[in-house]
């Protein structure tokens, strides 16, 4: 992991960001956090559509899981209410747990799929859950 980190660093030091693509939110189901799966034209030369859509769909599913209104969230909510919400000060919420999963997934995707193609996904939480930012690096020889 460490050596891989440094090799990715080197790659980025050689490459400059040629463009950034922003995948916007998809509000057709309301205010839940979902991103559009439309394949942006700038990525056509870099990655296949299937791969990209798979990534976005998985992210959408993970966010849906975080915001799901299920028995777990109800129990958490009721318990929190009974303790005058002080429980949130010591307990990690379900949403936060899923966010960690998402961060790990994005890191994995970057390592395995996107970085080798000169792309970099940014975790949407760093952009206020507004967009998925994909940085496209210039197509130099990245494999050195």
């Amino acid at each position: 992991m460490f050596s891989q980190t440094h090799s990715l660093q080197d790659m980025r030091q050689q490459a400059a960001v040629a463009a950034k693509v922003f995948i916007q939110r998809d509000y057709t189901n309301g205010t839940v956090c979902q991103f559009q799966t439309k394949f942006p034209s700038e990525l056509e030369t870099r990655i296949d559509k299937q791969q990209f859509e798979e990534t976005v769909r998985t992210l959408n599913n993970l966010y849906a899981e975080a915001e799901k209104l299920g028995s777990q969230s109800y129990i958490e909510g009721c318990l929190a209410c009974l303790t005058a919400y002080t429980i949130f000060l010591c307990m990690e919420t379900h949403y936060e747990k899923v966010l960690k999963k998402i961060a790990k997934y994005i890191q994995e995707q970057n390592d395995k799929i996107y970085a080798p193609r000169g792309l970099l996904l940014t975790d949407p939480i760093e952009r206020g859950l507004r967009v998925i930012e994909i940085a496209i690096f210039e197509d130099r020889s990245l494999t050195r």
Binding site: M1, F2, T5, L8, Q9, R12, Q13, A15, A16, V17, A18, A19, K20, F22, R25, Y27, T28, N29, G30, T31, A66, E67, K68, L69, S73, Y74, E76, G77, C78, C81, A84, Y85, T86, F88, T93, H94, Y95, E96, L99, K100, A103, K104, Q107, D111, Y114, A115, L120, L121, T122, D123, I125, E126, R127, G128, L129, R130, V131, E133, A135, I136
Partner: protein
Amino acid sequence: MQNCEYQQIDPQALPTPTPTPPPHHGHDGDKTEEPRRPRRKWEVFPGKNRFYCNGRIMLARQSGILPLTLALILVTSGLFFIFDCPFLVKHLTSCIPVIGGVLFVFVITTLLRTSFTDPGILPRATPDEAADIEKQIDNTGNASYRPPPRTKEVLINQQVVKLKYCFTCKMFRPPRTSHCSLCDNCVERFDHHCPWVGNCVGKRNYRFFYTFIVSLSFLTAFIFGCVTTHLALRAQGGRGLVFALQESPGSAVELVICFFSVWSILGLSGFHTYLVASNLTTNEDIKGSWSGKSGEDVTNPYSQKNIFINCCSVLCGPMPPSLIDRRGFLPSEDSAQPGSADIELPPLATKSEINACTQGTKGLLESATLSPLLSASCPQGKPQTAQTCPDNGSAVNSGPSPQLSTSCGVRHPAGSTGDRSSLHHTRTRSKKSKRAALHIPNPAFDVPVSPTSPDTDPSFKAGGHKGAGFTPLH
């Protein structure tokens, strides 16, 4: 390593690597303390909020009535425990102070949670995002005059909803989001700005607010009932009310306060119960967004059509995280460089590009990842120097804190200048109106395209970093 002016500190003790100014005396494996301490993101937060406890607690800038609210509650409850409880415990039951105590704890806790929690503030768009959106919008207007308001329509559950473009935050507002002009932030699921709690009420703190007003109505009604019982018991035997009041003067104060507040608080609780049951916000209710006043057949697209499910989803739904990373450290670049002009003007991009060349890659990589938290994984934790950039795509995961937020967006200099006078007027106006009416948002507060922002926008030196965002788009 002759860095005599720096204090040698243990890198392990640092939560993040300290930012280095560019003319550094070379970097070593062992990072030394900077003369300038590392700044956290809350220090350069662009909205009008105040932060305490190093970013853990936040309030609106104008929290004038919150002390009054606290004082009223504390005084009334204090008088209750001092004057009424002893008598009632003796003559009735000792459950009374227990119930009173529980309600009081609930009220104070939820009030503080409402006031100090981030209501669901959306961080402002990074320069890259803003430029991208600008590109997509047909901008044929002259750069020096503000283009007409932009809207985007989306279909939500077969209902057409218009999304407005926020000129201050430089993004299309998600549905149900509104820009609070008092706090100068876009807030998700914006309900209203409540002066009594000194904060906006939005997605993240609505449940606290609701619990606060419900428990406060119980507490007020309870105290009112107990005081009345107390005075009635004392006045028994033909001794009269005046005698009772003389014996227990505190009760008179409580009676007055409770009598005047119980109606408005009960009314407010009832109103918000209706809102919760129909999954509406105060903002939407006031504007009549879904009431079909324009004659069209509109229904609330967010409602689940079932009162119970609506209540559960609003009050017991998952707790969303804060999107503004208040306690994160700023990445290496100099924050708050007020020199850059409005990023919407394309001609400036070239000038910025020159700056971006030197800082571009580094800056973008740093803004793409949350560098301070990540560099803990790399012993050479120095995000600044161009040579060793420890932030990299593989380490997007921040690890400890899931509350990552835009590092670029928050880097704007705090406080825009033009708004004060108009805000003062709205605030004094609000103070004079009745308590119940206060919770009804003054339309001036949350005008989506705020009339105050035109003054600030052209002069808004919000381009925090010099063009680190412009490179990639050209």
